[in-house]
Amino acid sequence: MTSEAQIMTPEVRPDPAVEEEARIYVASQWKLTWWRFRKHKVAMVSGAIVIFVYLVALFAEFLAPFPTDMYNSRYTFAPPQRVHLFLSTEEGLKFQPHVNGFDVEIDPVALRRTFVVDPDVVYPIGFFVEGFSYRLLGLFETNIHLIGPINPADPMYLLGADRLGRDVFSRLVFGTRISMSIGLVGVFLSFILGILLGGVSGLYGGMADNLIQRLIEFIRSVPTIPLWLGLAAALPMTWSPLAVYFGITVILSLIGWTDLARVVRGRFLTLRTEDFVMAARLDGASQQRIIWKYMVPSFTSHIIASLTLAIPGMILAETALSFLGLGLRPPIVSWGVLLQEAQNIRAVATAPWLLTPGIAVVVTVLALNFLGDGLRDAADPYSRG
């Protein structure tokens, strides 16, 4: 802008309003989209939540105090512990975050174990404590955790324990990683399929378009749940958990690509007749250049919005399959797997904290949907009027 300012004729005063305008005039598509998105408050908040959830997934080992498979039969179905910040000692109140231990009492009539908080047993907890060792982001070895008992052997159940005395909080954090990544990987796979088939369909038209459209219609006409069930049941039981994980994402994306293919096809069809695309053709631009320089940039923002809106579907599908016992299986921990364990009346009656993964699912899915809506509204900053 500085060199331009010099050429400006003297009659143009540097008026702040004009400066503001000039800022809009030189703003690229992404800037305009961002400015428009910013006005969408709910989407902004949802975006922050989604980023938070993905950060949790990324730094799961750091955030979780315990590994997913650490169990303690003393604490089966232990309720969540309250975190106390101050400890009363002889010298008075002292700042020492801690949780209290439990006394286990057995109801002589119902033979049910009940946990009674024992205020005398103090397990000090702290931030950045040592625990199990892991490789942070797969890069360097460390054993520091954000929060945990100062003595790694001490029990700490912020969200209670499950039927084997495993920490629900740690498992929820690890489950975030699997559930969120299955959404991403699945969407990525269906994105490739959708772009490819939708692109062929929209760009070339004719018979290819006809075939692909009929295929899409066929896939969409098959009821999804039985189809998932059938495909998931076909995965060999002998597969490793990792292979099953991958198999499930492939199954989800094999069904999920149709929506995206339709979006891509529709965009190509409308863009093909756009004047500026014809202008490029008359400039002598090659087909490659027209596709990559004119058409694709015109709908990337729409694609991103569609992708964001597709992720929750994937997450829900994984959760549903795992919940029914046909998706991921232990020892893999996902929100669906966790919910499957809460699948009985006892869990709801005596250990409602086992349902916390359900809250995580609802919050994440809602946040992704609102974010996607906001993106979709902001995706075309050039719509007139």
Binding site: E4, I24, V26, S28, N210, R281, D283, G284
Partner: protein
């Protein structure tokens, strides 16, 4: 058809050789139906038109929506592949080349010499490119200007169309409709073309801005020795800007003459009705003139009537018109008409509308 075509070329050749000769051009779009997308018919958007454009002149192509004028323009630009016919373009060295059968690769050099100005200044500029990228794009694709000289060249073009070069980093959304149309013109001129096809280039603009753009087009024509094919539905703009005018009706040219002759002594009943239908900006005229109001609607190009396409709406039609298709023929002085009774009819032309303001 061929007899009068050769005659036409000789007549247009009596000054300079024509820059472009269009011979019996057809453009039929298939209508497809059903699962197997079988062709069930054709929309004959352009069904056999012939005309030529002399270097330096402005030829107007006028008609109502659906008459095929835009399709004809796009065939010449080879945005469409014509069904049949020849598009003979004369290169600067005098050799003629038929553009109609050329492949995309073979067309590339001619795409630089024949350029287009679009109607809609909003949809014809890629909103995701800055002015610099937009205007330099044709030069980059055709490698006519070195990258180091690109900025200067774009600045020059912007000045030429009356825009400030300082704005070349801005995006199209920063500009008003008239300014965007100037950008479109700069794009068209970037490759130093010989022939410019302007498709309704001023139709989307307001009266005051339209006048600016018309003036600009005239100035540029003089300065850069351009030849225009000006496609429009607006008779007043055509009358103002063009040297010769071709009137189209349902895919055919019904009359072609110099602007003066066509507007003062139209020889085709459709031209007469068209001229009469244009509202004249002079309140005195409405008291004394009898407007010819055409009955019915424009014929469907997928299902055109027999004989002369205009006969169902023509007030002079006779039995012969329903049976026999009139050819476009010279009735003297380079005035071409496709009407059986061109010599017999005395038709009304445009009245003077001069306002003293």
């Amino acid at each position: 058809m061929s007899a009068h075509l050769s005659e036409m070329s000789t007549i247009s050749a009596n000054g300079a050789a024509p820059l472009l000769e269009v011979n019996d051009l057809h453009m039929h779009f298939p209508i497809r139906r059903g699962f197997l997308r079988r062709v069930v018919g054709h929309v004959r958007a352009v069904s056999g038109i012939s005309f030529s454009i002399l270097p330096g002149e402005t030829l107007g192509l006028v008609g109502e929506s659906g008459c095929g004028k835009t399709t004809a323009g796009r065939c010449i630009l080879r945005a469409y592949e014509p069904t049949s016919g020849r598009i003979l373009y004369r290169q600067p060295d005098g050799k003629q080349v038929d553009l109609a059968p050329l492949s995309a690769q073979e067309l590339k050099p001619y795409r630089q010499q024949i350029r287009m100005i679009f109607q809609d200044p909003y949809s014809s500029l890629n909103p995701r490119m800055t002015v610099l990228e937009l205007i330099s794009e044709p030069m980059r694709i055709n490698k006519t200007v070195a990258p180091s000289e690109m900025q200067d060249r774009v600045a020059l073009l912007l000045r030429k169309v009356g825009l400030r070069p300082e704005y070349m980093r801005r995006y199209p959304h920063a500009f008003s409709g008239g300014e965007r149309q100037r950008l479109g013109i700069a794009r068209a001129l970037a490759l130093d073309p010989h022939l410019v096809v302007a498709d309704e280039a001023v139709s989307a603009l307001d009266v005051s801005v339209r006048a600016q753009i018309l003036n600009l087009l005239q100035d540029l024509q003089e300065e850069m020795h351009l030849t225009y094919l000006f496609v429009s539905h607006d008779l007043s703009v055509i009358e103002y800007l063009c040297d010769r005018v071709a009137v189209m009706y349902v895919g055919k040219i019904v009359e072609l003459a110099t602007t003066d002759a066509l507007f003062s002594q139209p020889k085709h009943p459709y031209t007469e009705a068209l001229i009469s239908a244009v509202p004249k900006p002079n309140p005195l005229l409405r008291k004394r003139k009898q407007r010819i109001v055409l009955e019915g609607e424009v014929a469907d190009p997928a299902n055109a009537p027999s004989g002369c396409y205009f006969h169902p709406r023509c007030r002079y039609a006779e039995a012969r018109c329903t049976a026999e298709t009139p050819e476009l023929r010279n009735v003297g002085g380079g005035h071409y008409v496709a009407c059986h009774f061109a010599e017999k009819l005395t038709l009304r032309g445009a009245e003077s509308v001069a306002l003293d303001v």
